[in-house]
């Protein structure tokens, strides 16, 4: 899968995924496991609802005063020794990062998992500029070897079986085939260890920026994030502007919610708080820290009816429970972010014209709303995007006409009943036109409709 956006082909992408039994088994196993772990992790936590309310309120507070929090974050991070940049869009962010690396003669960077770097297509840009990028998160490393993109925001290689990973490692790393996860992990670790030590810079994202202290908070499990951010002399962190928290006081709410929602862990193996650069007497830490705050359309989203989408803390719980995601996987969505949060963000960030089929990728079942730790009204937002699609003329003239007829008939009982009768009379033709996909799945209309029986 290339970086090319294929959201317009969602239905075809989905149909291909549905016919891939290996993919579906991998998705089913992984999403079931994460769903169950999430449930048991929350089972021991009192008053989840109050916690979600608090998390939502904190995120809204940040969004409601975002310019002030950004200013505060920038001032405090700078005071701690970081250099803070603002990037208006993806191109600006890419150029900024590449410029920093080139100016320092960096030829290889070690990277920890970052979805925002996927959003701005940072890796291909750096590689084109002659800089080697090494993904050090195991899942990201796997898909980098395969030249793919993540298909889940937390579990990038969720679509892969361990047998596939075994074959990939044997082929690309020249080791004997093994599908034992321990052997594969040890192999990756040995390869990556050298990369950490040789890398001229570390690239990371951040789960949160803390406005009151200028710190970056990173939740990781493999230890690679800590090495990326502390071993190389230069650390560049890219995060989108909305990912701020007011202060460290608010962090515990998210320590409770984020790992539980994401992987069902009570806490991740590593929780890094990075405040500025290495100080005299400190043994670790980058000597130079650059923080790139990416807008890329978010200030506009903030002004509109979908602003609550920016509360998202990227836990991935919504996709694990989404019947559509579970069936088709992340690549079908054709851009960076999949699942319920992904289809909304894709639409808002990449634009209606490149992604309008995605707004259909929901049964409106509401399973995502139930698990969202920050209470984003995902179904309401999807309905809002569908409204915009009609408004912007992307629903198709046939549907437009059909819906105008529906509206007329729904307000005129005689016409409505006549339509029902017509459907019955023409049923063989309707079935032929509707094909096996639609009309073929409906029973034939009743000879005597209910309203006639109630006369």
């Amino acid at each position: 899968m290339s970086a090319e956006q294929t959201s317009l082909q969602f239905r075809a992408n989905a149909a291909r995924a549905i016919n891939d039994p290996q993919l579906r088994a991998a998705l089913r196993n992984a999403t079931d496991t994460f769903g169950q772990r999430r449930e048991s992790a929350f089972a021991t936590l009192p008053d989840l609802e109050a916690l979600r309310e608090r998390a939502s309120a904190i995120r809204l507070e940040v969004l409601n005063h975002l310019p002030a929090y950004l200013e505060q974050f920038t001032a405090n991070a700078s005071a701690a020794g970081a250099i803070v940049h603002r990037a208006a869009d993806a191109a600006a962010a890419r150029e900024l990062v590449a410029g920093l690396l080139k100016a320092r003669g960096v030829t290889m960077v070690a990277k920890s998992k970052s979805m925002v770097s996927e959003e701005i297509h940072l890796n291909p840009y750096l590689e084109a500029a002659g800089i080697e990028v090494v993904e050090t998160d195991l899942g990201e490393y796997i898909i980098q070897l395969e030249h793919e993109t993540p298909s889940h925001i937390i579990v990038p290689a969720i679509h892969k079986s361990r047998q596939q990973v075994g074959r990939l490692f044997a082929e690309r790393l020249g080791i004997p085939y093994s599908d034992d996860p321990q052997v594969l992990t040890r192999t990756a670790r040995a390869v990556l260890r050298d990369k950490f030590l040789a890398a001229g810079a570390g690239l990371s994202g951040a789960n949160f920026g803390i406005a009151a202290s200028g710190s970056l908070a990173l939740f990781t499990n493999e230890g690679n994030g800590r090495m990326v951010t502390t071993l190389p002399p230069l650390h560049i962190a890219v995060l989108s502007i909305e990912k701020l928290l007011p202060s460290l006081r608010e962090l515990p709410t998210f320590i409770r919610l984020l790992p539980r929602s994401a992987t069902g862990q009570a806490i991740t193996s590593y929780l890094s708080l990075i405040t500025g650069t290495r100080r005299p007497g400190e043994a670790t830490g980058a000597e130079e820290l650059h923080i790139v705050l990416l807008d890329n359309g978010r200030s506009e989203i903030l002004k509109g009816a979908c602003r609550e989408m920016l509360k998202c803390i990227r836990c991935g719980a919504c996709m694990n429970v989404c019947p559509v995601y579970r069936t088709v996987g992340g690549h079908a969505y054709g851009w960076t972010y999949p699942g319920p949060m992904g289809l909304i963000l894709t639409n808002l960030l990449a634009g209606m014209e490149t992604s309008y089929p995605l707004v259909d990728a929901s049964t409106l079942c509401g399973a995502c709303v139930e698990v969202c730790p920050v209470k984003i009204p995902l179904v309401e937002l999807i309905l809002e995007l569908r409204r915009r699609r009609v408004r912007d003329g992307f629903s198709g003239s046939a549907t437009d006409l059909g819906m105008r007829l529906f509206a007329r008939a729904a307000s005129a009982p005689k016409l409505f009943n006549w339509g029902e009768r017509l459907a019955r009379i023409c049923w063989p033709a309707v079935r032929r036109i509707g094909g096996k996909n639609v009309a073929g799945r409906l029973p034939r209309p009743a000879a005597k409709p209910f309203h006639a029986r109630m006369k």
Binding site: T363, A367, R388, V390, A407, P413, N437, R441, F450
Partner: protein
């Protein structure tokens, strides 16, 4: 007690027997049933597809008909009840004249099992039941309307029937209204998954409170060559009176 029945368009055209079972049940428990003439569709197909003006046209028609009546409005569909209860007030909030009607009607609407249990206390008496029954809890019924216990209470009152659990019971069946037509491959895959769970439950009957979901499930079962019966809860209860 006099109740107003909203049959829904799906029941009207495709499943009149569900409407008849609903009437039989309501009457049996002492309600007088009015069926306001001229009713059509709640407008959900248009609303869910993003056609707000078209949905509002259907909503206005619904309100013109039902606001002229009194007493509870009962419908054998969780999804349509949720539309009237939650989406009408927002859809018509800027229309003076209509917003008041929307709020009043939203306060009167009941999904059938909700009314049978909450108002008529039908679950307190027994119904004749048989076989092994499993239950699909529809998404809008449970998550939007919050009706979770009522259908279970009614099922428990089916004496002689064994109620068997359904694995992944809260997972969507893949109907989703227009979703079924827009993304048929995914819809069919989900219906097939649901059919698999129903077959694994060992039930000879699957029931639920929404004809749309049941229709999609029936198709999933048919494609697996299954003989499992698909029936609306109203039908099972009416048969057991």
């Amino acid at each position: 007690m006099r109740v107003q029945l909203f049959g829904t368009c799906l029941v009207d055209a495709l499943f009149p027997e569900v409407g008849e079972a609903t009437v039989k049940l309501l009457r049996h428990f002492g309600a007088e049933v009015d069926y306001p003439a001229g009713q059509t569709c709640c407008g959900q197909p248009a609303f869910n597809a993003g056609y707000r003006a078209e949905a509002a046209a259907a909503a206005r028609h619904f309100l013109d008909i039902f606001a002229a009546t009194e007493g509870p409005i009962v419908t054998p569909s969780g999804s349509c009840a949720a539309m009237v209860k939650h989406h009408y007030p927002a859809l018509l909030q800027d229309e003076p004249g209509m917003s008041g009607k929307a709020a009043a009607v939203a306060g009167r609407i009941y999904e059938l099992s909700q009314f049978l249990v909450g108002v008529l206390r039908a679950h307190e008496r027994g119904f004749a039941g048989r076989g092994r029954i499993t239950y699909h809890s529809s998404c809008h019924l449970t998550r939007s309307l919050g009706v979770r216990e009522e259908p279970l209470a009614l099922l428990a009152a089916l004496r002689g029937a064994e109620i068997v659990p359904l694995s992944d019971a809260t997972r969507c069946c893949g109907f989703g209204g227009m979703f079924m037509a827009k993304l048929p491959e995914i819809s069919c895959a989900l219906a097939d998954e649901k059919a698999g769970a129903i077959l694994a439950s060992g039930a000879d009957t699957v029931t639920g409170c929404d004809s749309g979901c049941l229709m999609n499930i029936a198709d999933g079962l048919k494609k697996r060559g299954s003989q499992v019966r698909v029936a609306h809860l109203a039908q099972l209860l009416a048969e057991g009176l």
